[in-house]
Amino acid sequence: MQSTTSQTGHTEAHDAHHEEPGFWRAYVFSTDHKVIGIQYGVTSLIFLLFGFFLMMMMRWQIAYPGHPIPVMGPILEKVLGDVASGGVMSSDLYNSFGAMHGTIMVFLAVVPLAFAAFGNYVVPLQIGAVDMAFPRINMVSYQCFVVGGVVMMVSFFIPGGAAQAGWTSYSPLATSIPTDGQTFWILGMVFLITSSLLGAVNFIATIIQLRAPGMTWMRLPFFVWAQFVTAFLLLLAFPPLEAAAVMQLMDKVAHTSFFLPTGLAIGGNLANVSGGGSPLLWQHLFWFLGHPEVYVLILPALGIVAEVVANNTRKPLWGYKSLVYASLAIGFLSFIVWAHHMYLTGMGTAISTFFQTTTMIISIPSVVILTCLLISLWGGSIRINTPMLFALGFLPMFGIGGLTGLPLGLNYSDIHLHDTYYVIAHFHYVVAPGTIFGLMAGIYYWYPKATGRFMSEFWGKVHFWTSLVFMNLIFQPMFAQGMAGMLRRMVDGGVNYSLAKVGNDAIGGLSDTMIGMNVGISHAAWLLGVSQIPFIINFFWSITHGKKVTSDNPWDATTLEWQTPTPPPHGNFATAMKVYHGPYEYSAPGQSKDFAPQNEPMR
């Protein structure tokens, strides 16, 4: 697997000359970056929906603990057996849905969609390349992703069910739960990590080697920069998690004690392990990936938003260079803040000072990025279309998510907020109305390039406004719940607190208002689900019925992906590209049009 990767990649260019590839070569085992991009896109959208589905069922349990889930309950019972007996979600099932919601959303939905799908489709086009540097490795990367996904899916149906230890899989819990779900999780992760690593190598090599003549570093569209930094994060942060996964696998199957300390007593009796391991070692290795990972989730979305904003304000991005340098700074810093997830594992002053300081510092480049994007709007001639709506929606949502990271970043305030719904709200604001909106913007924006047709504007706007409203109705109340002390990962939605208050007159139970919010949030979540129906229909319907584009460049954009035939053929460009100027020459003085494509010299 390893070293073959780098050598086998370049054969296609010869073989695939001219003759039309058959169905399998064209759609399933394709090495064309655009096909692979679309494969990634569709697969990850399905996973996104599935991850959301799990959460919609969990939200029922949170809102109405112990009540059978309508519609889905009997199905779950039939398919999964005892864990859903009577159609009620058991604690184990809740835990495994929770772990799998996190895992699927992060590793099977957003990373493949944001990084692999958009990256594959758009990056080679934007830099004027004919394909990725290693097309066959690209295909293998997608196949590893599918295998990883299948392994994860299969784990739902094995006895005992899927992994139950949270997406963070902390040892010793992960090793001590007596099911094979965790083993599947680890194996699945190894495939997903391999897939991402292959992708990362490919992206970096492509961006460095295959830029068209004249496409200098400071002429790269910001989206390419974002993907470039993201690829480096994946390249260097994922292997430690892979190492950790190998060790956890050893703990699980070879009964080693990498993460199991001496004197461990599971179920009251001394565990039969040699001991001598360190539970915190897992956390360090996990978060060494985990933190860069969150920037992997956000950077591509920022890149998309930047493209859409520049295009729809009809003016250059404000502070292009600051954006680039800020992304590089984020990339660099994201490797040295990870232990802010571990403040309460027992940290002395020196080490926590270090991690708090780096955490505060990393917020500065994010502020710079958001400020640049905001100021870019000033002086624009702002066109409101669906992609732009999602991009504009992204900005304040990311702002809320990012700002609420700050009180978590200071350990003293984290004492109160740690592991409450405040954290849940914080990161969902960045990943759901944040990243997902960014990705939606990208889908609506590049759809005409990929299919030659627009998605419906009307339904797009419906999709946006309903999503915006429900997202906020879901996640805003969670801040309040978190402030009030409601903890995450509670199968009873926190009812225990109020029981404590009622039954035992203890102080510290949650008020009925706080518990009551669960119901409202859940309804909002289901309505959010309903709001996706127009999108899904729009998405498929428009492939054949959408409004046809009248030109190859329907948005009057400057970047190279719009200077190709629509949809771009194998090999991408009709003529070799040459680049004359920066990416965002909109409304430049003295031009005949209000946009100057990068491959046309400016007057």
Binding site: Q7, H10, D131, A237, P239, A243, S278
Partner: protein, 256 residues
């Protein structure tokens, strides 16, 4: 339509694609082994005083294996140089030696594994420990050879304490606990097996690629010699990296 810089380096970066690709890949490999290496250090620092075993491995065997791997490294680079000098037959010879070395390395490693899996620590009901290699096992008794016998809690295997016996028979009834020196035995063995197994997988993977390029893959020499030479360079870079990992593993696991 042709992907550029597959063979010739791109002028401004001075690299052909695969060369950049393999270095990026190796960077991620550095992080992979680096994480395991960091884990080793952390676990070792965290180990109870005196609990970290020493001298469990056979140093002469390890040294020989180190030499084998170093030899394969020089033959890999000589093979590449031969291609550069247009001497295909010498390439075949050198790369052939590389493959032999790779096989030798894996065989020696397997022997070492086998040795650990037959090495038992037997704790007896009277609180004595017998530590040696299993010769025979039946329902009624076991037989060990090269046995060290010491009191439980006094010393560990490999530190050459205790009384030595050539062979020892232990009745089943006397045995309280019996465990071989597999990864489950202690943290040191856990990290030893994990690191060396991962390394061995890299050796096997690298050897498979080299074997392919030595056998069927070498046909490309006739059609596209430059590209073929690049492939040899790339596979060589990977092979050297595997060697490099071993350069650290050997002292860390065998000697310290």
């Amino acid at each position: 339509m042709e992907i550029p810089y597959v063979v010739q380096p791109r002028p401004d970066t001075g690299l052909y694609n695969a060369k950049l690709g393999i270095w990026l890949f190796l960077a991620s490999e550095v992080m992979l082994f680096g994480a395991l290496f960091s884990s080793y250090i952390l676990l070792r620092i965290g180990a109870a005083p005196g609990a970290w075993p020493h001298g469990l491995l056979n140093i002469p065997i390890g040294t020989v294996n180190t030499l084998v791997l170093i030899t394969s490294s020089i033959t890999v680079v000589m093979a590449w140089a031969s291609l550069k000098l247009n001497q295909f037959n010498r390439f075949k010879m050198f790369q052939g030696i590389t493959l032999v070395c790779a096989m030798l390395f894996v065989c020696i490693k397997s022997y070492e594994y086998y040795d650990k899996f037959t090495h038992y620590e037997v704790i007896m009901t009277d609180g004595m420990v017998a530590d040696g290699h299993l010769v025979e096992k039946s329902d009624t008794h076991i037989t060990l050879k090269h046995v060290a016998v010491f009191h439980e809690g006094e010393g560990t295997a490999g530190d050459h304490h205790g009384e030595h016996r050539e062979e020892m028979r232990i009745e089943a009834a006397q045995i309280r606990k019996m465990e071989n020196y597999g990864p489950w035995h202690n943290t040191y063995l856990a990290i030893y097996f994990t690191l060396t197994a991962l390394h061995a997988l890299h050796v096997i993977g690298g050897a498979a690629v080299i074997a392919y390029l030595w056998g069927p893959g070498s046909r490309m020499w006739k059609t596209d010699p430059e590209r073929f030479t690049n492939r040899i360079e790339i596979s060589g870079l990977f092979w050297h990296f595997v060697d490099l990992v071993w350069i650290f593993l050997f002292p860390v696991l065998y000697l310290l």
